[in-house]
């Protein structure tokens, strides 16, 4: 299966006007697989706001680990559907969410006070004790340090790793949202203390599949990863919606709809990168590159990781679909890629050149000053460097494909 729309033009036409809510499961899976790039999702979304009755309730437990709540905020920024429509439409019962809930954890002389109506810790205990088969939305990494104790995150007097373990064991599926949960993200960034902190992603820690917390804890609940820093609300809502609707059956359909990093291929297409639909792509094709920030040309020489980043950002856009990073003048920093941030930093250096300017502050300063001036526009010192088109190893779709290994 190539996942390319080019080879499946007939199929594409066939799926184009289908409403995913009405689509039967087989057609859905076929469409997700066949269209590869996010063309499918433009139809996938179209009728989502229509009333939908008779769907059984799906319970959702949303836990926050080592993170910055940015994915919760990103979900609040979702629209069509927004988070309220999302919960209603798919008949989701959000049981627990640390940012959006009434309750606090209350202890009086060390004892839990009140009932679950007023005490989040009583509520969480009741959920962990009684609920089974819910969707676990995992936001944030899981602290395993120091020395395997997990004490770098303690909540309600409990080690979060233990809470996560109980929640994960009894879930029907774990949907890890955002880079902290999927791959530990910035929490696992290389530093002198990263091994000591030992913050783990759910199924992967950076690119290491042997270091996911579920493996460590021996949990076999299926995992779906919605990467990104933050995750895009469409990616999360539509994936969970498809699961709630039975369009994606867990675990049967997962091998077909997910790549090898457990990301839904429809949003993180193996054959498509941010680079493919970048509005600066024309400059790239003509070999016109910016060497300082602020201009309209291709940002490749400023370290843009778009050619390596498998996501539909350039088609979907963010926050009301108004913009995305390279369109706003910044190189893509590859925040959906499993190795982010270590595999994509230095952010402003081409991958081949990484490490060279690292030690030369004078070079960086020269670039940076000019960049700032150009960015400001008015009295800009415009330093345009025109280059001949260059064929760079590692920028083609083929090798990008190899990097993520998303194809079978």
């Amino acid at each position: 299966m190539g996942g390319s729309g080019v080879n499946n033009e007939g199929l594409l036409e066939e799926f184009k006007n289908l409403d995913f809510i009405k689509m039967d499961r087989r057609t859905f899976i076929k469409a997700v697989g066949a269209l590869g790039a996010s063309l499918f999702l433009q139809t996938y979304k179209s009728d989502i706001a229509k009333a939908f009755n008779g769907l059984p309730e799906t319970k959702v437990l949303w836990l926050h680990g080592v993170m910055d709540s940015g994915c919760s905020i990103s979900m609040l920024d979702g629209e069509n559907p927004d988070i309220l429509e999302f919960l209603q439409l798919f008949n989701l019962n959000l049981l627990y969410h640390e940012v959006l809930m009434m309750q606090q954890g209350i202890f009086v002389d060390g004892q839990l006070a009140n009932t679950s109506d007023l005490n989040s810790e009583v509520l969480l205990e009741e959920i962990l004790e009684n609920e089974r088969g819910y969707v676990l939305i995992a936001e944030g990494a899981i602290a395993n340090g120091p020395h395997g104790s997990g004490k770098y995150m303690v909540l309600g007097g409990k080690i979060y790793k233990d809470v996560f373990e109980r929640a994960a064991r009894n879930a029907s599926v774990i949907v890890a949202i955002g880079q902290c949960a999927t791959n530990s993200g910035v929490n696992a960034a290389e530093s002198e203390i990263s091994d000591l902190m030992d913050h783990r992603g759910v199924a992967f820690t950076l690119e290491d599949p042997s270091k996911g917390i579920v493996d460590l804890l021996g949990i076999d609940t299926p995992v779906v990863n919605i990467n990104g820093c933050p995750a895009h609300p469409d990616w999360v809502f539509l994936t969970i919606g498809a699961i709630a609707l039975g369009k994606i059956r867990v675990p049967d359909d997962l091998p077909e709809v997910l790549d090898r990093w457990y990301r839904p291929k429809v949003f993180y297409p193996p054959d498509h990168t941010v680079h493919d639909n970048c509005p600066r792509r024309g400059f790239y094709d003509r070999g016109e590159f910016e060497t300082t920030v602020g201009g309209p040309k291709c940002l490749w020489k400023l370290g843009c990781k778009g050619p390596y980043s498998h996501a539909d950002c350039a088609l979907r856009h963010w926050n009301g679909h108004v913009n995305f990073c390279p369109q706003a003048g910044s190189p893509c920093i590859g925040c959906v890629q499993p190795g982010f941030p270590d595999s994509t930093r230095p952010f402003y250096v081409e991958i081949e050149d990484a490490g060279i300017v690292n030690t030369n502050l004078d070079t960086i300063a020269g670039v940076a000053i000019a960049g700032g001036l150009i960015a400001a526009g008015a009295h800009a010192l415009r330093r345009t460097v025109l280059r001949k088109p260059e064929e760079k190893e590692g920028t083609t779709e083929e090798s990008a494909l190899e990097r993520t290994g998303g194809e079978k």
Binding site: S69, G70, V108, I193, N319, A378
Partner: protein, 320 residues
């Protein structure tokens, strides 16, 4: 003495614990706060390209990423010795960027993170002892400020009207940030020496539109009067006394219209601020306006010296 611990302190970014010691009089005599997560951000910056900091450090907070990003950019300006060369337009862009996050964070903080406390059933038990008026006020508090996730006795209540409306503004302002900064959270505008994007005329017009729409929310939901009127009569009032008088007279006017029919709705002019001022404070509500009940929130704070309490300066409304 009783030890009361709030853990987790929910409705914040991150994870937090508050330990308090409460005397028999219900007074907090000691308190400690604890951050419960360690992420080691400072260390992750060491031995790496310093320019990454402007995009890296903001990932400490998904609610207020912009200030972290700008702070990192400021530090980089110093590091590279270009602080005095950052163009004025870039500084304006930094300020606009921060201001948008600042306004959005107010919507989040007041309505999503703090507001739900006003819909706590403990307040229902106090208010509903006071007949139709108490019931009406409780109906307003719970109908406006109920958070998305709540339960009482097996019942789930719909999210409050002000809560939901504030989320719309939050989303709109984040869209405004994305327009000039790529996306939100974790926008990409800041860079050593300036910013990476110069707004077009269309961008600027749109930003004005976003903020104007939010100003309408402030009128319809928060204040019950146009923001210009409020600012003119409080912030720009000729004296603190006249500012206080403006607020009290406005409240008296609202009460005169509502005490007969117990209509305290947004539509009858009761913005969230007047509702909170009248029924949150014992001094305003009970002492000055003669209301039979209030939540006495002005009595729960720690401002022992009345001289340190100024109009709007410490989160309370007037000189004791």
């Amino acid at each position: 003495m009783v030890e009361v611990t709030v853990d987790p302190l929910s409705r914040i970014e991150g994870h937090y614990r508050i330990n308090t010691e409460v005397s028999e009089d219900g007074v907090i005599t000691d308190a400690q706060s604890n951050g419960l997560v360690f992420r080691g951000f400072e260390r992750a910056l060491q031995h790496h390209d310093p320019r990454d900091a402007a995009l890296f450090t903001m990932r400490i907070c998904g609610v207020c990423p912009v200030c972290h990003s700008i702070t990192a950019a400021n530090a980089l300006d110093d590091l590279f010795g270009v602080a005095d060369q950052v163009p004025k337009n870039a500084l304006v862009m930094r300020n606009v960027h921060q201001a948008m996050n600042f306004i959005a964070s107010h919507a989040a903080h007041i309505y999503v993170l703090w507001g739900p406390d006003l819909a706590n059933p403990a307040y229902r038990d106090i208010l509903t002892q006071h007949g139709d008026l108490g019931n009406a006020v409780w109906g307003e508090l719970s109908g406006r400020f109920m958070p998305l996730v709540n339960q009482e006795g097996g019942t789930r209540y719909p999210a409050g009207s002000s809560y939901v409306a504030a989320l719309r503004e939050f989303r709109r302002l984040h869209e405004g940030i994305a327009l000039i900064a790529g996306k939100m959270p974790h926008p990409v505008l800041q860079h050593v020496g300036g910013v990476v994007y110069s707004p077009t005329v269309a961008d600027i017009q749109k930003l004005i539109s976003y903020v104007s729409q939010t100003a309408r929310f402030v009128e319809n939901f928060t204040l019950g009067v146009p923001p210009e009127t409020w600012i003119e009569n409080t912030y720009r009032a000729s004296s603190p006394e006249s500012a206080v008088n403006f607020v009290i007279e406005r409240l008296q006017e609202l009460l005169d219209n509502s005490l007969n029919n117990n209509d305290f709705s947004h539509a009858s002019g009761w913005g969230d601020v007047p509702l909170f001022a009248a029924f949150g404070s014992e001094l305003i509500g009970e002492t000055m306006l003669g209301l039979p009940v209030s939540l006495k929130l002005d009595r729960s704070g720690g401002y022992k010296d009345p001289n340190t309490i100024g109009f709007l300066s410490y989160g309370v409304f007037f000189q004791a």
